[in-house]
């Protein structure tokens, strides 16, 4: 393995990586159509595009997961053809995928050492921990090398993935949608890390479809659409979201939705003094009270890990709690998920593939998940196959779920289609309350728009909606009222029309929303280092 030289000489004319005329086709799709791309040493180059634009394909070619049909890849000026990610990392190119590849029951340092040839037999925990701490300090990746992966937040796990690459001497880092899973605060921390890396002469490819982030972090931006480069290496300074959006989707983005006036009805969801523990047995909710009325969208604004996920689970019957939750006047807390379903609680869970769908069951089976107990889908103890298929067929058409057939396994659907499937199923039950968690995370612009419209339509039909989202823009676009959560408490409640973004941001990160600086009175959860 080549030794990692932290201090790269000043910028040279030789690009760190370069793609020249890369063509890659899959059956029926031209994923990369003569793509040119270059990454200069010490720069952050953003690759922007919708899902399916060909970004990931290009990066997978760089990383040795795919081989191009035509064209050339050069690493630091030399033509390269990696056969595996192992070859790529040996040449100093590391990729951090959207889905992490960590062993939950092992420690941070064990995960970082995993798969290395050195040390050969005995691990030297202290030596490697020191090295990991040194790298962590240099690149501002705060994480305890002895912590087990399952104890870490998503943001911390991402830091481990980055550390893993740096430990292997990566000089070029490809980050595939790194912010899709992060809360705003964690995004800031990631950006600081990336900047520390470029200062040390390393270079970063930053894949995203979030315009504002790309403008904030990148030096240059390349935009792709349908396998082609529509703008190569634009300087980020001076780029505008409107311009980038046009390059990316080929049309103007709709940011403001038409919505019916806010006319709330009776209180449908009511939570009083709810307390609950998280999976690790630590307090996650410390006395939450909130109401959601018919025809109202209440947005929960919070940085990841402040109890919003547990709140959704308590309401949907998935997590026991103290205190009381009622839906339509009847208690749902501490009963069962089935009980909540019968009371008209629909749920779009954060984990679409692990919880919101059964990946190997068919689209049809997935669409009847909330309906199979009642007539007409069930007839006595049997399921009426014809009725079930007819229901599935009509939902597939109505919600434009693109799937080859009703028998296709759900795991083969793209993220946007899977989310439409889940929403179709939940909305079809005609719910009194919908708990929607991160409904558009990781989806492309068009999918986000359709899902937002579906939520607003449901609101118009008089459902109560609790929207848990890490995306403040989404909450501002949809919610009628915004509740801010911090450390398991609701620390502020705002009318969305007059909400003060600055104040919300401050409350989310533990400030008091006033002029006084925040005092560290609350015991630190360890996820936030407010500075």
């Amino acid at each position: 393995m080549t030794a990692a030289t932290p201090a790269q000489p000043a910028r040279t004319a030789t690009p760190a990586i370069e793609a020249v005329g890369v063509v890659k086709s899959f059956p029926g799709v031209l994923a990369n159509d003569h793509v040119d791309f270059d990454l200069q040493p010490g720069e952050i180059h953003a690759l922007l595009g919708e899902n399916g634009a060909g970004k990931s394909t290009l990066m997978n070619i760089f990383a040795g997961l795919y081989r191009q049909d035509e064209g050339e890849i050069r690493i630091e000026g030399r033509s390269a053809a990696f056969r595996s990610p192992r070859d790529a990392i040996a040449a100093g190119l590391g990729m951090v995928h959207q889905h992490f590849t960590l062993v939950p029951s092992q420690t941070v340092s064990e995960n970082i050492l995993l798969g290395l040839d050195r040390p050969r037999f005995l691990l030297d925990p202290h030596g490697s921990e020191d090295e990991i701490r040194r790298l962590a300090a240099q690149f501002r990746l705060q994480v305890d090398p002895r912590a087990k992966i399952w104890q870490l937040s998503v943001g911390e796990q991402q830091r481990v993935e980055i550390l893993k690459m740096l430990y292997r001497g990566a000089r070029i880092l490809i980050m595939d949608e790194p912010t899709a899973v992060l809360a705003p605060q964690e995004v800031e921390e990631l950006f600081r890390t990336l900047r520390a890396m470029t200062t040390a002469g390393r270079s970063v490819v930053f894949i995203s479809h979030k315009l504002k982030e790309v403008i904030a972090i990148a030096d240059r931006i390349t935009v792709m659409r349908r396998g082609r480069v529509t703008a190569a290496g634009l300087p980020a300074a001076g780029a505008t979201p409107v311009e980038l959006a046009r390059l990316m989707v080929g049309r103007d983005l709709l940011e403001v939705y038409e919505r019916t006036p806010f006319a709330p009805g009776e209180v449908l969801l009511s939570a009083r003094d709810v307390e609950a523990d998280n999976d690790r047995g630590l307090p996650a909710l410390r006395g939450v009270s909130l109401d959601v009325r018919a025809g109202e969208i209440v947005g929960i604004a919070a940085v990841a890990g402040n109890g919003q996920a547990e709140l959704a689970q308590v309401i949907t019957g998935l997590r026991p709690c103290r205190g009381i939750v009622t839906v339509g006047g009847r208690r749902t807390s501490n009963l069962s998920p089935g009980h909540a379903i019968r009371q008209g609680v629909a749920h779009v869970p954060e984990d679409r593939t692990g919880e919101g769908s059964a990946p190997n069951l068919s689209v049809a089976d997935n669409l009847i998940m909330k309906r199979f107990r009642e007539a007409p889908v069930s007839r006595g103890w049997l399921i009426n196959g014809a009725v079930a298929r007819a229901l599935a067929e009509s939902l597939k058409d109505e919600y434009a779920i693109a799937a080859p057939s009703l028998d296709t396994p759900a795991r083969l659907l793209s993220g946007g289609n899977l989310q439409r499937l889940i929403l179709a199923r939940e909305i079809e039950t005609n719910p009194a309350l919908l708990v929607a968690c991160q409904p558009t995370r990781g989806l492309d612009v068009w999918a986000i728009e359709t899902i937002h419209r579906l939520l607003l339509e449901l609101r118009q039909h008089g459902a109560a909606i609790l929207l848990v989202s890490g995306d403040l823009d989404e909450i501002l676009a949809l919610a009628d009222r915004i509740d801010v959560m911090y450390e398991g408490r609701i620390v502020g409640s705002f009318d969305a029309r007059t909400a003060d973004l600055q104040k919300i941001g401050l409350l989310m990160t533990g400030g008091d929303g006033g002029s006084e600086p925040p005092t560290a009175a609350v015991d630190a959860g360890g996820t936030l280092g407010s500075s």
Partner: protein, 361 residues
């Protein structure tokens, strides 16, 4: 040159069947090589097996007799495996079922002289109940306390074995032999040969009513799994436990119910064996039916109807294998088949690509 495995996006339906047949074929070739190495003639051996298993109505009937316990225990495993509950305990549940059915005539639960139409259903009930309870124990432990079912079911097999041994060596022993007294004829499941007086062609055919239990059970298990609400819950929980919980499925209850039914099916196999074939309880009543059942469930990919085919195949192997060697080779063939099947699983999920290296690393 490198060999790469690329995941298949959606394996076509026929592929799985083709690869299963290919795996069995490869297993037979490997076994043939070993037979040749130890000095046998593989072709003659296989022809011999084929003849000994399917060569005449008489041996076909014997094959079906061997297939009957395999069919019921195979269904027991397939049902549990469908929910990804690894019931390795069909052997023990079979033994308990045999014991429970025997208790009806030996304890005795019914007084001697009770007519057959009461004795037989009571034995079926007792056998299924005893096997069901033996399945219930690991089911409850798993559902309530999260105890690994592979370990509990495996260990309970030995408890069941010793339990049966205690009764056949002790209280129920016939004159100190390791077997009980023969059952009275009212406790026999009817065989085809019993009707030879009216249909002469049935003479000597030992196929017994237990086979019908197995075929009916396969139909019922299929109907439940594929068409019922409860089967939908099992399939859902088998694919993703979190998704099932989210959909309002009571996982714990389903684990217990599936284990109880799985145990009851294996228990019914035990009843069918003592009442239809052996006509008494004895030590070593099972040559490992409950373990072979695991292979059968796999071979059938947990599909109840394919379990029927697989159990006939293995029934033939057990019966005819004895013709070449009392043990050893037939068991080896079984083992190699399971091994090939597990390896073949890779080819269902991945496509193999052989590439010539373009650039030297």
């Amino acid at each position: 040159m490198t060999i790469r495995l690329e995941p298949r996006v959606q394996p076509p339906g026929w592929l799985s069947a083709a690869i299963t047949f290919a795996a069995v074929g490869v297993a037979l070739v490997i076994s043939g090589v070993i037979i040749a190495v130890v000095g046998g003639d593989p072709v003659r051996s296989y022809i011999h097996i084929l003849n000994a298993a399917f060569g005449s109505i008489g041996v076909l009937s014997d094959t079906l007799v061997k297939a009957t316990p395999l069919l019921l225990t195979g269904l027991a495993c397939a049902l549990a495996f469908r929910m990804r509950l690894w019931n390795i305990g069909a052997e023990g549940q079979f033994l308990l079922g045999a014991w429970g059915a025997s208790a009806v005539v030996l304890a005795p639960i019914l007084p001697p002289g009770t007519p057959g139409f009461i004795v037989i259903p009571t034995m079926m009930l007792a056998g299924a109940a005893a096997g069901g309870i033996w399945g219930l124990i690991p089911g409850v432990l798993r559902a309530r306390l999260g105890v690994n079912e592979i370990i509990t079911t495996l260990m309970l097999n030995y408890v069941a074995l010793f339990w049966v041994q205690f009764w056949v060596f002790g209280p129920w022993s016939e004159g100190g032999f390791q077997q009980t007294a023969a059952f009275p004829p009212e406790a026999f499941l009817p065989r085809l040969t019993d009707f030879a007086s009216s249909v002469p062609a049935f003479d000597g055919l030992t196929v017994q009513l237990g086979l019908v239990f197995g075929l009916v059970a396969a139909g019922i298990v299929w109907l439940f799994l594929e068409r019922s609400r409860w089967g939908y819950e099992i399939r859902l929980a088998g694919d993703s436990q979190r998704a099932a919980r989210y959909a309002g499925v009571d996982i714990a209850r389903n684990v217990i119910v599936v284990f109880a039914i799985s145990g009851a099916l294996a228990g019914l196999a035990g009843m069918s064996e003592v009442s239809g074939v052996v006509h008494r309880l004895q030590d070593r009543i099972s040559p490992g039916y409950g373990f072979t059942a695991i292979i059968i469930a796999y071979l059938a990919r947990f599909d109840p109807f394919k379990v029927i085919v697989a159990s006939v195949l293995f029934g033939a192997l057990i019966l005819a294998g004895r013709e070449i060697q009392p043990s050893g080779v037939p068991a080896m063939i079984q083992g190699i088949i399971l091994f090939s099947l597990i390896v073949a699983e890779v080819f269902v999920r991945y496509r193999v690509r052989i590439e010539r290296s373009v650039a030297a690393a």
